[in-house]
């Protein structure tokens, strides 16, 4: 780890001011990804600005019946919050599918969004990586790429975003509240992360000197018909090969509203409004779910080792939608897939 300076932000405005004063500084909250990357010399900040004591830890209902979640709420506190368990069990389930109990206790909600989209070559400073060192090339495209992206890739980068929480947030239509020196703004979660194109060193659309202050969930929680299914090489504490967040509203067996997002397949959580629209008004059957999966996976391309992900994702989408439709969501503790 490089030597760096340490500042403790007094309030959000102070954090923004400290960031503006030092372009090589970074914010730190839980630190679970940042400190790991610093130990590998992938991140070398000049200064860490400690925001962990800022008063951004509340979970409160919004006027329209949604939920506003402070950026510093630990992942575990969010997953186990009674309002999240009752109204947004898809989000609780996705969070509990990720990382370990220790990391979920440490990691903040804002930090979960800010964890780097990454791959093993990003961590290996002996190899070229456009994300770590822009312009040096991508080692994964012609290297080992079994875990890599199949959607939204570019010639510069095929890394995936490993967040489970973000996949559920994308499906739920969450908003990200951001503060900066020029004021506050709000973006959709699906517009917060970006695709690699020719700038894979940028994971998000957060501007210089900006800070996430809260995540907002719309009122619609899909508490009855939902499931989060994560397929991975070991049963716990591993990144997804493919994960699916599915949420439905049903009238009888007819789908009145559908949400569908994939994790482990792209540089950002992958949601397709077209696939969701194709489900509305249809019966909740495997055939219709398969058609939605095809729409969601439109344009998927494989590299040398990750071709299996396309069919795996298709089957996982159908299975997850079946789980959601039958109100038998995937348990994150009992691993048998219903």
């Amino acid at each position: 780890m490089n030597n760096f300076q340490y500042s403790r932000a007094r309030d959000v405005a102070d954090a923004i001011r400290l960031l503006a004063a030092d372009p090589a500084a970074k914010l730190i909250a839980g630190g679970t990804n940042l400190i790991d990357l610093m130990k590998e010399n992938v991140e070398r900040p000049s200064r860490l600005i400690d925001i962990s004591r800022l008063p951004l830890r509340d979970i409160e209902e919004t006027a329209d019946g949604g939920l506003r979640i402070g950026a510093l709420v630990p992942n575990s506190d969010l997953a186990y919050h009674p309002l999240v368990e009752q109204r947004y069990p898809l989000l609780a389930s996705a969070i509990l599918a990720g990382a370990s109990a220790q990391l979920r206790n440490m990691a903040s909600v804002g930090g979960n969004l800010m964890q780097r989209t990454r791959c093993p070559y990003f961590y290996d400073t002996a190899t070229p990586c456009n994300k770590r060192s822009p312009g040096t090339g991508c080692s994964a495209i012609d290297g080992l790429n079994r875990n890599h992206a199949i959607l939204g890739t570019s010639n510069s980068c095929i890394a995936t975003n490993p967040s489970d929480m973000s996949v559920a947030l994308a499906a739920l239509g969450a908003l990200v509240h951001i503060a900066g020196s020029s004021g506050q703004r709000t973006v959709a979660l699906t517009d917060f992360h970006r695709l690699p194109d020719d700038k894979p060193h940028l994971d998000t659309n957060l501007g210089d000197g900006e800070i996430i202050t809260a995540i907002e969930l719309p009122p619609r929680g899909f508490a009855r018909n939902y499931s989060y299914l994560k397929i991975r090489d070991r049963l716990s504490y591993a990144f997804a090969l493919v994960s699916v967040a599915a949420a439905l509203e049903l009238e009888g067996n007819a789908i009145s509203e559908a949400r569908l997002a994939l994790g482990g397949v792209a540089h950002k959580p992958w949601r397709s409004l077209e696939a969701e629209a194709a489900l509305r008004g249809q019966a909740a059957t495997p055939d219709h779910f398969g058609r939605a999966a095809d729409l969601l996976l439109q344009g998927a391309t494989a590299h040398s080792h990750n071709g299996f992900k396309i069919e795996l994702a298709r089957r996982a989408v159908v299975r997850t939608l079946m789980q959601a439709a039958s109100a038998t969501p995937q348990s994150q503790a009992h691993k048998k897939i219903a």
């Binding site: 300076q5 186990y80 109990a101 220790q102 206790n105 994150q332 503790a333």
Partner: protein, 163 residues
């Protein structure tokens, strides 16, 4: 005059309450809590395994919650209460988890054991595990390369049933 704020600070004073005792020390900003515990406070029960949050050997309780001390900067925990494996026994009596690990022979080499036990103490406090599957899932941040998992689960079940 040089701007002193631009100089790398050598040491920053912090206060910790470690296993009930107030400890004052000065740390560099990049000192992890794990290194502070082991190298500065000579509490070597907490182990350094992978040093990247993947193995759980460094697990301690901060303000009652289990965390990876290798991914925690000591300077950020100024004022916190830390419990390590050395702080679990009370009045000469082993913690029920320590006794259960002995009763069930829940280790071979023992290197992961302090982290396993601190993690299990956090798990019991969280109150979310109700059966063996849930124990396994909620203990997945602690690796045991000797493969003592069945006995670790049995030990935690014993402590859970008696708590």
């Amino acid at each position: 005059m040089a701007d002193l704020t631009d100089q790398i600070p050598e040491r920053i004073p912090i206060n910790l309450v470690v296993n009930g005792a107030r400890r004052t020390l000065e740390v560099a900003p990049w000192t992890t809590l794990l290194d502070a515990l082991r190298d500065r406070l000579e509490l070597t029960g907490t182990k350094k395994g992978c040093d990247h949050g993947q193995c759980g050997a460094c697990t301690v309780l901060i303000d009652g919650r289990r965390v990876n001390s290798c991914l925690t900067l000591a300077v950020m925990k100024d004022g916190a209460e830390i419990t390590t494996i050395e702080g679990l026994a009370r009045d000469g009596m082993l913690h029920p988890l320590q006794q259960a690990f002995i009763d069930h022979d829940a280790f071979q080499c023992g290197y992961c054991t302090p982290g396993q036990i601190c993690s299990a103490a956090g798990l019991l406090a969280e109150g979310r595990a109700r059966d063996a599957d849930e124990i396994r899932e909620l203990m997945s941040g602690n690796l045991c390369r000797c493969g003592a998992y069945p006995n670790i689960v049995a030990a935690i079940e014993q402590a859970m049933s008696r708590s």
